[in-house]
């Protein structure tokens, strides 16, 4: 079994903080199909529509019949460990710093044999196991073999933790604790073993239900933070930025108007101030110091979580200006992801459908419960995925959008 995560020792302040290094990350365009699946936490392999063969690694044509009619299909990853080896010496800086490193040759039940990173709890070959498709620190897909059945503290495996962003023992900033979603996320991060949770709150004179309750969670410290105020963001980053391992941006401004239903730009601007410029301010102040801590020991700076909206993909006209602000944030999150990539910090975007809160009052169920969204945040960090579409509505929109974005636009125009 893996060691239960002991609270890590405090950092030795006379030693230099190592600079982040990345595992090899060059991939062909075809191979990025595997990364696209890993971003969602899925194992997908190419299947030939001509002869039915399943292949790995990804190629332009079928390795049996040379057909180019290849489709990506989900696989369950079950297979057998054929052999294993341990790498002690590597010319790659990333693995030099992490040796010894366990690798295995796995024969997948669906056909191909693959080389995978091997979890410490996997028994010696021959043994049954399961292969996952994970994002590594470089944001690229790699295969990871884990035991077939759950073992104690499985997530604490040294190699697996290099793929995940597990909140256990990490120091986390949740930017707005006044909303039901923010409070649910704080509670579930605490339950998942976060060491410290700083919880931001703006406009202290406005009292919201539940806010008093999160003060009673032992890991929680409340911090004044208003993402519309550059001075406030700068001050908080100066105070705690150097310690934040995971930043979860829950700050959101949401009103239910299109263009015609609300005169003027005040509402739209307020949405942009929080949803778009708020993210920009946080990224400018917290981004640099988090990037510098991408390799800061076992509890390094590891992830940045954005709560976006499925409305970011296609405008929902009854909430038209909100949708536009989330589309802007979605675009900026892509920029942030690119800038965080060299330091190995994962930018996780969640695209929920309507959350069951005040501003979605007139939207019919199913609506996503704040606790369900919080659970999706924690799971995304534990699994190390990059894009999450939690709930039935988000999944439905995503499928329709992928199938035909123009059709979805027309459907939403009549909603």
């Amino acid at each position: 079994m893996s060691n239960p995560a002991p609270r890590p020792k405090r950092k030795n302040p006379i030693l230099r903080t190592r600079l982040p290094t990345l595992p090899p990350h060059a991939r062909s365009r075809v191979a990025l199909g595997l990364t696209a699946a890993a971003a969602l936490g899925r194992l997908e392999l190419q299947r030939c529509r001509n002869c039915g063969a399943i292949q790995y690694p990804p190629r332009e044509t079928c390795h049996i019949c040379l057909s180019d009619r290849l489709v990506w299909e989900p696989q369950d990853g079950s297979g057998e460990l054929v052999s294993e080896t341990v790498v002690h010496i590597s010319q790659e800086l990333f693995f030099r710093e992490r040796a010894p490193w366990r690798l295995g040759l796995v024969r997948l039940d669906c056909g191909p044999s693959v080389i995978a990173h091997l979890h410490g709890d996997c028994a010696a070959p021959p043994t049954r196991l399961r292969v996952l498709n994970c994002l590594d620190r470089a944001g690229q897909a790699v295969l990871v073999a884990i035991p077939e059945k759950e073992t104690p503290n499985m997530a604490e495996d040294r190699q697996l933790r290099e793929m995940s962003c597990d909140p256990r023992n990490r120091k986390i900033l949740v930017t707005d604790g006044k909303t039901a979603v923010g409070q649910a996320i704080v509670a579930q991060l605490a339950a998942a073993g976060a060491e410290i949770i700083w919880v931001g709150y703006a406009e202290p004179w406005k009292k919201f239900p539940g806010f008093e309750r999160i003060k009673t969670i032992p890991q929680v410290t409340l911090m004044p933070l208003d993402v519309t105020d550059s001075v406030s963001v700068k001050e908080l980053a100066g105070e705690i930025g150097v310690k934040v391992d995971i930043l979860v941006n829950t700050a959101e401004h949401h009103r239910a108007f299109g263009i015609a239903a609300r005169a003027g730009t005040e509402v739209a601007r307020a949405e942009m101030e929080v949803n778009y410029l708020g993210l920009l301010r946080l990224a400018q102040e917290f981004g640099p110091v988090m990037r510098a801590r991408g390799a800061d020991g076992r509890n390094n700076a590891v992830a940045w979580v954005n709560l976006l909206s499925i409305f970011a993909l296609a405008n929902y006209p009854p909430h038209g200006t909100f949708s536009a602000s989330k589309a802007a944030a979605h675009s900026l999150a892509q920029c942030l992801r690119a800038e965080m990539l060299p330091s190995g910090i994962r930018v996780v975007n969640l695209y929920p459908g309507p959350v069951d809160d005040e501003w979605n009052q007139l939207i019919l169920p199913p609506k996503l419960a704040p606790a369900a969204l919080a659970a999706a945040v924690v799971k995304a960090l534990q699994d190390g995925v990059e894009d999450v579409y939690p709930g039935d509505i988000a999944q439905d929109w995503l499928a329709r959008w992928r199938d035909n974005p123009k059709a979805l636009e027309r459907e939403l125009a009549q909603s």
Partner: protein, 261 residues
Amino acid sequence: MSTDTLARLVADLAGGRIRVVDLTLTLAPDMPAITLPPELGQAWPFRREEISRYDERGASWYWNNFSCGEHTGTHFDAPIHWISGRDLPDNATDTLPMEHVIGPACVIDCSRESAADADFLLTVPFIEDWEKRHGKIPPRSWVLMRTDWSKRTDPEAYQNYDETGQHTPGPDPAAVRFLIHDRDVLGFGSESIGTDAGQAQHLLPPYPCHYYMHGSGRYGLQCLANLDLLPPQGAVLVCPPLKIQQGSGSPLRVLALVPMP
């Protein structure tokens, strides 16, 4: 004669016989802004964004862009602000007569009563009692309600919200009518976030100070500070708002000229 007066004023200022007291709170991002129900339009709080600070954006100079509403920080209310004053002549910040923004200040001390009761309402008998001690309010005066509210540096205590809304002192409807019709004041000033009390939406008419004052061409000042440094009578108030085209009000610097004993 007026030349003499101004010469003496300048000499008294230079000689410290007249003191200039700043009645303004600092415009800062954490300064509480007016809060309305979330479905209504909202005033912007004060925000400051750097343009450059001796850096690659401008190597030799420091400057900011700032944004805020017309009713942010220590601010002036023009008659056009309220529906009752919307059709009056010269009712906006760019058209109101500048003679009205310099005038005698009468400071009514309600600090003890406000400390005891955050919902304290200034009444006609309270004003009359003040006049017995300090003299009648002269016509074309500014009446300032001292509550020491500006000493509440904690924004939560300054806003003083509970689940029924804001609790801050202000005048009652009869007192406002009395100040306008019987004393012909220029305007009314307060230390809290409105010239009206926090619960004034439940008075008749709602927000009487806004309704009556602006309806008869008078002005408002709010978020004032340092009223405890002014005498009950004898100071002169200087409060010109920014010349915003058709402005309903503006943040401003409010000064008082105070004769030293």
